[in-house]
C-alpha cells in the first residue's frame, strides 16, 4: 500500500523495470498542466511540503500579463491539487519591503513547527523574499534576506551552528550568464552573514554556465543531500538539468561529494517544448523518512509542474558513483 504514516499518502511510482536511472518520471506528467486556474497561464517551479494529512504547495503562477505570483495549493495525495484562485497575502511590518511586482520560484522549508517560504522577490531587482506561516492561513513576511541581485534562496530544514542557514545564487538583473551557490547564516532571519562559497560551475558542459540550489536539502547520515540545477548555454539559449551533491552536515559549505553528471535532463515533450523549452527546474523534494523514498517536484519548460521519483539510496549511490 502506497501511504505514509497513518494518514498521509506518499506520491510514488515504482521504477519501471527497463529503467536503470537513479530517478524516473511519473508517466502521468505533467501533474499540473497549462491554464490551471483562471488567473494563470502556467504553474511551475513550485514548492510542496507535507502538512497535516496531505500536502500544501506554494506555487509559481504566471499571470496573463506575464507576471509571476505565489498561490497556495492543497492536495491529499500530492498529485491532484486544489489551487486557490487568489494570491497568497503576506502581512508585513510597516516600512518593510513587501512582495514585489514579481514573486517566483518559491521554496518551503519546515523548521520545527514553522513553515518558511523563500522566493525570488522583486525589490529593485530580484532578491530573496522570506516569510513564514504556521497554518498556511496567515503568512508573515520578514525582511528580504539579501541585497539584490539574488535568486534561488533555499533554507536548510534545521539550524546550523545555532543559526538559520540559507543557500542562494547571487545573480545580475537579467538572464544571468553566471552563477554559483553560496551559504549564509542568520541568527534571527533578519540579519544574514558568514557567507561561504559552496558550489561553482565546472568545465562539464551540463553545469558550465551556472548552478543553483533546487530542493530543500535532505538530512542523511552521509551529509545534506542537495538536488540542484545546472545550466548549459547552447546557440539557442540555456538548458537546465538536475544534479545532486552531498554537503557536510556541520559545515554545509563543504562539498563532500558531487555528482559530475546530470541526474536528469530535459527529454520529454513537455520538457523540451513550452514557454521556455529545455528547462527542468526542481524546487521541492518530498521525503518519506521510513522508506527513503523521494518525490521531486520540478517545473518543465517554465510551463507545467511535474513529478519524478527517487530514493536517498539511489541519489547517494549516484553521487558517489559519479564523483
Amino acid at each position: 500500500m502506497n501511504s505514509t504514516n497513518k494518514q498521509r499518502y506518499f506520491p510514488w511510482k515504482d521504477r519501471p523495470d527497463n529503467c536503470g536511472e537513479a530517478i524516473w518520471r511519473d508517466s502521468a506528467n505533467p501533474i499540473i498542466g497549462r491554464n490551471p486556474i483562471p488567473a494563470a497561464l502556467r504553474i511551475y517551479n513550485s514548492a510542496v511540503v507535507p502538512y497535516k494529512d496531505g500536502y500544501v504547495a506554494v506555487l509559481r503562477a504566471d499571470y496573463r500579463d506575464g507576471m509571476p505570483h505565489l498561490h497556495l495549493g492543497k492536495s491529499r495525495d500530492g498529485i491532484n491539487w486544489q489551487i486557490e484562485h487568489g494570491q497568497i497575502v503576506f502581512e508585513s511590518r510597516q516600512g518593510m519591503p513587501g512582495v514585489g511586482a514579481f514573486a517566483y520560484d518559491p521554496r518551503v522549508t519546515r523548521i520545527d513547527d514553522t513553515f518558511y517560504i523563500t522566493w525570488c522577490n522583486g525589490y529593485h531587482g530580484p532578491t530573496i523574499g522570506v516569510a513564514y506561516t504556521k497554518d498556511f492561513e496567515t503568512f508573515i513576511q520578514l525582511e528580504n534576506a539579501f541585497l539584490p541581485f539574488n535568486r534561488n534562496g533555499v533554507l536548510f530544514p534545521k539550524k546550523i551552528n545555532g543559526n538559520f542557514a540559507m543557500l542562494s545564487r547571487p545573480s545580475d538583473n537579467g538572464h544571468t550568464p553566471f552563477g554559483d551557490v553560496f551559504y549564509s547564516e542568520s541568527p534571527d532571519m533578519c540579519y544574514w552573514g558568514r557567507h561561504r562559497h559552496v558550489l561553482g560551475t565546472t568545465k562539464l558542459w551540463w553545469e558550465s554556465t551556472k548552478v543553483g540550489a533546487g530542493a530543500v536539502p535532505i538530512e542523511t547520515p552521509e551529509g545534506w543531500l542537495l538536488i540542484y540545477h545546472g545550466v548549459m548555454n547552447t546557440c539557442r539559449g540555456f538548458v537546465y538539468s538536475m544534479g545532486a551533491a552531498l554537503l557536510d552536515l556541520e559545515q554545509p559549505w563543504k562539498v563532500l561529494a558531487r555528482g559530475n553528471k546530470a541526474l536528469m535532463g530535459p527529454e520529454t515533450d513537455y520538457e523540451i517544448s513550452g514557454h521556455v523549452p529545455n528547462v527542468l527546474f526542481p524546487c521541492a523534494a518530498v521525503h518519506e523518512e521510513s522508506s527513503g523514498r523521494i518525490a521531486v517536484y520540478y517545473g518543465a519548460a517554465d510551463t507545467t509542474t511535474c513529478l519524478a521519483y527517487t530514493t536517498i539510496k539511489h541519489l547517494t549511490d549516484f553521487i558517489k558513483a559519479n564523483s
Copy 2:
C-alpha cells in the same frame, strides 16, 4: 447559417462551451501548413481582406533560400486558400525604390475602393513599403513611407483629420530588442509627418521588450480597436503574444484603454514549435459589421497561418476589464 451579406461566407467557429476566453482558436489550425506552394517553405504573418464574394490575402512566403516575398491568395470562405505560385509584381515609378531583397509581414487596408498594402520592405534596412491595388491584378508601388529602420506599418481604414494615417514600430537593423508604436500622417501617401507616440512597452513582462501594431484597426463607437503584439525576452529568446487596445477615434495617438494582459499567447503545438517557436503574430482581423464577429489571422511560430475568433464585444470587454 454561417455567411455574411448575401454572398460572402464569414470564417467562424463559435466559442467552445468550456472556454471563458475573449478569443478562441480554430480547432482546424493551422489553416495554411508547411510547404504550401513549391516556392515556399512557410506562409505566415499575412493579411486577409474581404473582396467581392470572398477574400483576398497578401501572404508572406518564405522561400527555400530563406528570403520572404509577397504572394497573392484567394479564397471563398477565408479558410481554404488558392495561393499563386509567383510573387506579386509591383509597378513603380522610374527611380523610386521598388520591392527590396526581402518583403514580409504585409497588411492590407481598404480605404474607399482602394486596397493599400504595407509591408516590411528592404531598402538599406527594413522600412515600410506601400502599394495599392483596386483589383488585385495591378499593383502600384508608392514611396516607402519612412526612413529605415521600421517594421509593422499598419494603415487606418479611413483618413484621420483629412490625412492618411499609419501606425509603425521604429526598429534597428537586427532582432530589435526595443520597440514602441508611433502614429504618422500623410496628405498624399508620399510625404509623412505629425509623428506621435502611441503605445510603449510596459513593466508587464508579456510586453516588456517591444510592442507593435498587428491588424488594421477596427472602428467602433468606443474607439479604434487595435490588436497588437507584445514581446517578452526569455533566456531562450523572444515570446510574442497578442494584446488589444482602444485608441481615440479623432486622435488615435491617444490610448483610451489598453488591456494589460495578453489576449492570447503561444500555447498549442503549432505555436510553440516551428521555425521560430513561441511567436504568435496577428496581421489581419476580418470583421463582420452586422454581427461584430472578428476572424483574426495570425502567424504561428513563423511557420504556419492560423485563425482565432472573437467579437468586438469580447475585445472591448476584455480591454475594459483589464485596463
Copy 3:
C-alpha cells in the same frame, strides 16, 4: 584685408607654409573652451551662420547634469562669442511635440530669409527636431521631421525639385554602431518622404562603422559640397574623422565623387583628450562666396568648439584626387 561684404569679417587663417593639407586648424583652437557659461560645462558640435554684420550660432551646451540644450551665441568675427546664459525658447503649436529632455548637435540652414534649425531632439528616442527663426529672437518649432531613431539632420540651403530637402542618419536608441546618410524631401516642412539612400559606410576603416552629414552642403558648380563625419571602431571606442563628398545638384542622393580618405582626423591635444576623446565633429561650414574660403566649425572631443579653414577649391581638389 580680412572681411566679407562691406561689413562682415570672415574668420580666416591662411594655410601655414609647411602645411600641404586640404584643411588646416586655427592655431588658437579651441575658440570656445570648457565651462564657457555658468550653466554649461562644454559647448561643441554647434552651428554658425552669417547674420547681419556678424554671425549667429546655435550651440550645443552640455549642462552640469549631463543634458545637452541649445543656446544662442553672437559674434562679430565668428571667433569671439557672446553666449546667452539661458536656453533658446521655442514656440510650438498646442499638442505638438516640443523640445525634448535633450537637444543636441544643431545645424542652421538659411533658405531665403528664413533660418531653419535642425537638431537631435528627444521624443521617445532621438529624432530630428526642426524650427525656424527670422530674427534669432522668436523661434517657431515645427513637427519633428522623422520617426525616431534619427540623428544628424541637415537641410539643404535651397529647395530641391520644389521641396525642402534634408539629409539624416537613421540610428538606434544608443551609441549606434551603424549608420548611413539618407535624403528626404518635404513640400511643407511637416510631411517628409521620397527617402533615398545617399552615402553608406565603406570598407575603409576610417568610415567603416558609420557616416553622417556634417555641415550644411555648399552649392558649387561641381555639385553640392558635403562635409561629413566618418567613424571607425577601435578597442577603445569610436574615432570620428571628417570627410568630404560631392552630391548631384539636381538629385543630391546621387554621389558624384567622394573622398576616400579622411580630410582631417583627431590629432591635437584638444581633440584626443576630453569628455569623449578622438571625436572631431563638423556641424557648420561658413562660406565666403567671393573668395571660396570656408571656415569649418567642429566639436573636439565632445568638449570644445574649434575652427579649421579650407576653400572650395581645396575641398573639390581633395575629393577628386581621392575618389
Copy 4:
C-alpha cells in the same frame, strides 16, 4: 532488391510519389533515438562509411555530463546500429596533444585503404583532431591539423595535387556568429598550408550567418559534390539547414556552382524539438557508385541521428537549377 555489390546492403527508400524534392527523409527517422547507450543521452552529427560487408560509424555521443565523445558503431544495413559502450581509444605519440576534454562532430574519409577520422578536438579551444585506422580496432592519432579555433574539418577522399586536402571552418571559442569554408593542403597530415577561401556566407538568409562543410565530398564528373550546412540567425537562435555545391575537381577552392537555396531545412518534429531545436546537421553521405544513390546521415536537433536519401543526379540538378 536493395543491396550493393554482392554483399553490402545500401540504406535506401525510394522517393515518395508525392514528393518533388531533391532529397527526402526516411519515414523511420530517427534511426538512433535518445539514450542509445548507457553512457550517452544523445548520439548525432556522426560519420558513417562502408566497411567490409556493412558499415562503420564514428559517432558523437553526448554523455550525461554534457561532454561529447567519440564512439564506434557497426551495422550491416546502415540503419540498425550496434554501438560500443566505451569511447574510441586513440594512440598518440608522446608529447603530442591527444583527445581533448571534448570530441565532437566527426567525419570519416577513406583514402585508399586507410580511414581518416577528423573531428572537433578540444585543445585550448576547438580545433581539428585527426586520426586514422585501417581496421577500426587500432586508431592512431596524428597532430591537430590547425591552430584553434576551428570546426568542421572534412578531408577529401583522395589527394589533390599530390597533397591531402581538407575543408574547415575557422571559428571563435563560443557559438561562433560567423564562418566561411576554407581549403588547406598537407603533404603528410602533419603540416598544413596553401589555405584558400572556398565558400562564404551570402545575403540569402538561410546561409547568412555561417556555412560549414558537411559530408565528405563525392567525386563526380561535374566536380566535387559538397553537402554543407548553412546557418540563419533568428530571434530564438540559430537555424541550421542543408545545402549543396560543386567544387572544381583540380582546384577544389573554386566553386563551380552553388545551390542558392536550402536543400532541406528543419521541419519534422524530431528536427524542430530537442536539445538544440532547428538544427539539421549532415556529417556523412554514403554513396553507391553503380546507382548514384546517396544516403545522407544527419543530426537532428543535436539529439538524434537521421537519414535522408538523394542521388547524384538529384543533387547536381538541384545545384544547377538554383545557381
Copy 5:
C-alpha cells in the same frame, strides 16, 4: 592659521576668487602621482581619516601585475604622505574568508574609537570586505558584509537605530552597467539585513548608468551629507562624476534632497588622461567640524590621488539649489 584642534593641520586651499563652484581643486594636484612606491604603479581611490596629530590613509595600490592591494599611508598635513611599502596585513579567524586576490577602493569610518575599513574584496567575485583597527598597527578582519557581487561599501560613522549601517552598490562580476545605492544594517558587523533602496540612477545623463556611495557620510543638522559618484556611458566608455545628496538622519534610506547636477566632473589633464580616463572617484571627505571645511580625496583616472575642497554650507546650498 590653517590647522585644526591644537595640533592637527587641516588640508585646505581657499576658493579662488574667480571660481563660483561649490567645490574646487587643489592646484597642486595630484598629491600622489604615478609610481609612488616600488611595488605600485598607481595609488588612487583611497581613504583618509584624521588620526592623532595627523592623518592616516588606507590606499588602493595597483601593483605591476595589475592587482590592487591595500597599503597604509601616514601624513602630518594630509597632503604629503609616507606610504608603507608592504601591504596591510589583516588578521582573521580560522576558516573565514580573508583578503582576496584583489582589494580595492577602501573607505575608513571611525565609530567611537575604532576605525573600520571597508573595501571591495575578492571572494568568488567582488564583495564588501570589513576590518577594524584601533591603532593602525593591528588590523582584524571580520566577515565579508554581503554575498557577491557588491562594491563601494561605505559605513555610517555612528550606529543608526542601534545598528551599524552601511551603504553599498550591488553589482555584477564585470564592469557593471547598472548600479543603485542600498542601505543595510547589522547589530554586530557579522550579520547584515534590513536592506533598503536609497539612490537610483536618473534620466540625467551624468548619473544615468550607475551611482555609488563615495565618502563616509557627514552628519549635519540637515541630514547625512553624502558625496557619491554618478556614471554616464559614452561611446568611449564610462565617465565618473561627483554628486551630493542629503539623507535622513534617522532613516538614512530616505533621500531628503539630491543635487541633480554633477558637483564636479573630470576636466583637468590628470583626470581626463591616465589608466582609465575620465574617472573622478571620491572615497573620503575629511571634515573640520569647527569650520565646516571639507577636504575631499578622490582618485583621478584610476591613476592618481587628488584633493578638492568645499564646505558643508557649499554642499548643502548646492544640493538645495539643484534639487
Copy 6:
C-alpha cells in the same frame, strides 16, 4: 663609445640614475611622430633589424583612409629614419593570396642570410602573412601561414628541430577579447603543424584578457627570451602592457619562467593619449650580443614609434625575480 661591431651604431641610453626598473624609455620618444610621411597619419607597431652598417625597418603605416600598409625605413643609428613614401611591393606566385586590403603589425626575423617578414595580413579576415627578402629590395611573398583568424605571428630566429618555428595568437574577426600564444612548426614555410600551446592569460589583471608575442625571441643560455604584450580590459577598453618570459631552447612551447608583472605599462603622455590610448605594443628587440644590450621598439597608443632600453641580464633577472 656607443657603437656595435666596427661600423654599426647601437641605439642606446643608459639607465637613469633614479630609475630602478628593468627597462627604461628613451627621453626623446617618440622617435617617429605623427604624420611622418605624406601618405600616412601614424607609423607604429613596427619591426627593426640590423642590416649592413645600419638598420632596416618594416613599418606599419596607417593611411588617411584608416588602412594600414607596410613601408620600408632605413636608418644609420636606429633612431633617425628615412621612410619610403610608397608601400613595400611583394612578389608572389600566381594564384596565391597576396597582400590583403590591410597589412599591419609586422615583425622581421633574420634566419641565416634571409630576412623573413611576418605580419597580420587580410585574407577573409586577419591571418599571418609571410614574405622574405635578402636585400630589402626584392620581397617574395609566401603562403599565409595559417587559416584566419590569427595575429601576431613571430618567427624564431633559427630552426627548431629542423623546422621553422612560429609563435602566433589565434583570434576572432574583431577586437578579440581573448588570446593565447601558440607555437607551430614548418619544414618549408608553406605547410605548418605541430601546434602547441605556449602562454595563456592569467588571473593577474594586466594580462587577464589576452597575451601575444611581441619581439622576435632572443636566444640566451637560459632560454628564448620573449617580450610579449599582455592586455587588461577596463571600462574604457583595453590596456596593453609589455611582459617577458623565458621559453625552453629545444622545446619553446615549454615556459621555463614567466614574469608575473608587467615589465612596462602605458604611462607617458604619448602612451596614454593618441589614436588608441593606453596601448604599448612591442614589435622588435634589437640585441647587441657583445654587451647584452637590447633596444625595444614599441608602438605607443597606435600613434607613434618609441624606444625603450634594457639588457638580457635585466630581463632575465626580472623574470626570475617575479616568477
